[in-house]
Amino acid sequence: MLVDRHGPGMYRYALRLVGGSDADAKEVTQEALISAWKGLDTFAGRSSLRTWLFRLVHRRAADLHRHRRPTPIDDDLLSAMVRPSEDNPLRHVERVELLRALQAALDELPWHQRAAWLLREIEGMSYDEIAAALDTTVGAVRGHLHRGRRTLAERMERWR
């Protein structure tokens, strides 16, 4: 149940967080799920299960981030995840390009800004939940989000 219900979301988050590597996202998600399973006895509900699981993903990804040199951005990361539209090929191409640009812009963000933005805008978490997932304060989350949104909006301006 843990794997089926929360795994896809954790993997999606890991994919965008690590930015360029399918293999890294898989490793991060696997380690987080194994760690969650081993630690379920000590979890017992101080935050929502989902928040706790995303926190584990974040920690694993941060460990990887610290110990790895930067890798080139894989331009196809997000676009590869978009299913082709059957009735509008042009719109599909536009969507792929747009998501490619978003991933590139995300990869330029500092680590915590990227994580906070993904958890808020894509995963729909509250500020409290994001603070728990990132092991920081709500005030810090607000700051990361504010700066992340401003930078992303600037980067995406070229699409107007």
Partner: protein
């Protein structure tokens, strides 16, 4: 690549596209990750601990033939976690079961309480919830009572401790 309909808010449109993709199902490659995780979980799983169930009269043998029923500790822990979630006055931090010779001998529960809540009445209320849940799952054990549920408050926090 100029896209006329992106004039208004390209970032907003990109976010919509990502959310739509998320709503469409698991990302590509997920099935491979899931299979790998399941394989690794099978190799790291601790064996479940069986706990004997008492019948309505508090006996372990449910009939003249000596039929017995067991419930694993995983089921008991999951049920207790669910039972301890509903209130904003407290949240479980850790939960341990003491099992000896297939009998539940004790529950050790670490709690985080909300600031301003009276701890002693809260402990009594939580203990009652635990005992009721155990009785539902394992039947009435005449040797198991309130003194076998040890509650330790490990932290007191402002606001809802479930969200901390």
């Amino acid at each position: 690549m100029a896209l006329e309909h992106l004039d208004d808010d390209p970032l907003g449109l990109a976010v919509d596209a990502v959310r739509q993709e998320a709503a469409e199902g698991a990302p590509e490659g997920w099935s491979e990750v899931a299979a790998s995780v399941r394989g690794r979980l099978r190799s790291v799983l601790d064996p479940a601990v069986p706990i004997l169930v008492h019948d309505a009269r508090g006996r372990l043998d449910h009939d003249a033939e000596g039929s017995r029923t067991w419930v694993t500790d995983r089921v008991v822990k999951a049920a207790l976690r669910r039972a301890l979630q509903p209130s904003a006055t407290h949240a479980p931090s850790a939960l341990r079961l003491v099992v000896d010779e297939d009998r539940l001998r004790g529950v050790e529960l670490d709690l985080v309480a909300a600031y301003g809540v009276e701890l002693r009445p809260l402990a009594d209320a939580v203990r009652a919830v635990v005992l009721e849940e155990l009785r539902d799952l394992l039947g009435p054990d005449p040797a198991f009572g309130p003194a076998d549920v040890a509650i330790t408050f490990v932290d007191v926090v402002p606001g809802d401790p479930r969200l901390v």
